[in-house]
Symmetry: C2
Subunit: 217 residues, 2 copies
């Protein structure tokens, strides 16, 4: 499963554990400004009982094109129309591809990802049709797929609101104080409170009727 | 375009240049034993007129599962049935995914890869159905795809024999003495002459009726 250190993937890890899966968690140091999320991912993998946790380095900032990896592109602090500047070209395709390779090595067939089409409808690689297409690809791309085992890509948050996600996670014991969602979190993981990700997260706690444990700076 | 430093992708680069494409070449330091191929890729990018050449690091050896990235798994030196031990789980999916991200940043729509279904029929991610499926995915996964520009994945070697590939490349001026195909090439890029890749390559020169410029050790 893909574990970013944010709120969504922490919830997915708790859900998969709750369904009895032995979870192998994968994170990426991809040149993101908010590298504090990787420290959060380490804590979450341990707290939520992952079997193991790997952090792979792949410097997508070498390719540019996103506010998340290029310090010269500012993080938007106001809602805007269209696909936001924080979109990282093909990021979920890359992450799922690496997860697929690892799943094949582990002889696993279930891959979990915390994408969500409700709050982040601007990201093309968070839509259900993308996930369904990647699942088809996975079964053509691999020895495991060809030899008959079918991969399944699980995106259990796809149709949930942020409030629903938070309520589900709290019920499963997730400590959201460990998670880092902010696109410009500081080195201690403290949030700006102003970026898209912070605003959606804060509203999620309001909607869920649950106190917001986020550490703002 | 994906450029490994081997014979096939060098030929693809020459073909794409011959068709007038401005070529941005992408290689991966993925933990492969035959890292000498990356030195070859640098020389080839320059010799064949790529606009630029990037080498990204992504340590797939951290995932294991392949003779190409795990020194404990020997490179096969005899032909065998089934998918060979040199198969790297999901490698072409990962490489194409990163190439897709870069193509989107460059506002390019054409991605070239040197896969071939004739000689390497054992690799699931070298088949035409895999390439067609990845093209469908690319157009769902990206801002560029969603906004109307269609990506095209070019695999011009797909149905060529090794001999045909070599003949095509020689006609386009490729210096195959610069390429490194051997799965266990030494640090100077000299070939073993015994692995699958060496055997297919050597037979290709025989079939093409062209002297083999490979440096064997």
């Amino acid at each position: 499963m893909l574990l970013s250190g944010g709120l969504d993937s922490a919830t997915v890890l708790a859900m998969a554990r709750g369904q009895g899966y032995a979870c192998h968690a994968l994170s990426f140091a991809y040149g993101q400004r908010h590298a504090a999320e990787l420290e959060a991912a380490k804590l979450l993998a341990r707290a939520l009982g992952a079997v193991e946790h790997k952090i792979l380095t792949l410097d997508l900032s070498a390719l540019g094109g996103s506010a998340l990896t290029d310090p010269a592109i500012p993080i938007p602090e106001q809602p805007a129309a269209g696909i936001p500047a924080t979109y990282v070209p093909a990021r979920n395709t890359v992450f799922l591809a690496v997860a697929l390779g690892w799943a094949e090595v582990l002889d696993a067939r279930n891959i979990f990802i915390g994408v969500n089409a409700v709050d982040y409808s601007g990201y093309p690689d968070c839509r259900p049709e993308f996930i369904a297409e990647f699942e088809r690809l996975a079964n053509l791309a691999t020895r495991a797929g060809v030899e008959g085992g079918a991969f399944h890509i699980h995106a259990p948050l796809m149709k949930l609101s942020k409030g629903d996600i938070i309520r589900s996670g709290v019920a499963l014991g997730v400590d959201y104080g460990l998670t880092v969602s902010c696109y410009q979190a500081d080195a201690q993981g403290r949030a700006c409170g102003r970026c898209d990700s912070c605003r959606l997260r804060r509203q999620g706690f309001v909607d869920a009727g649950i106190p917001d444990p986020t550490r703002y700076r």
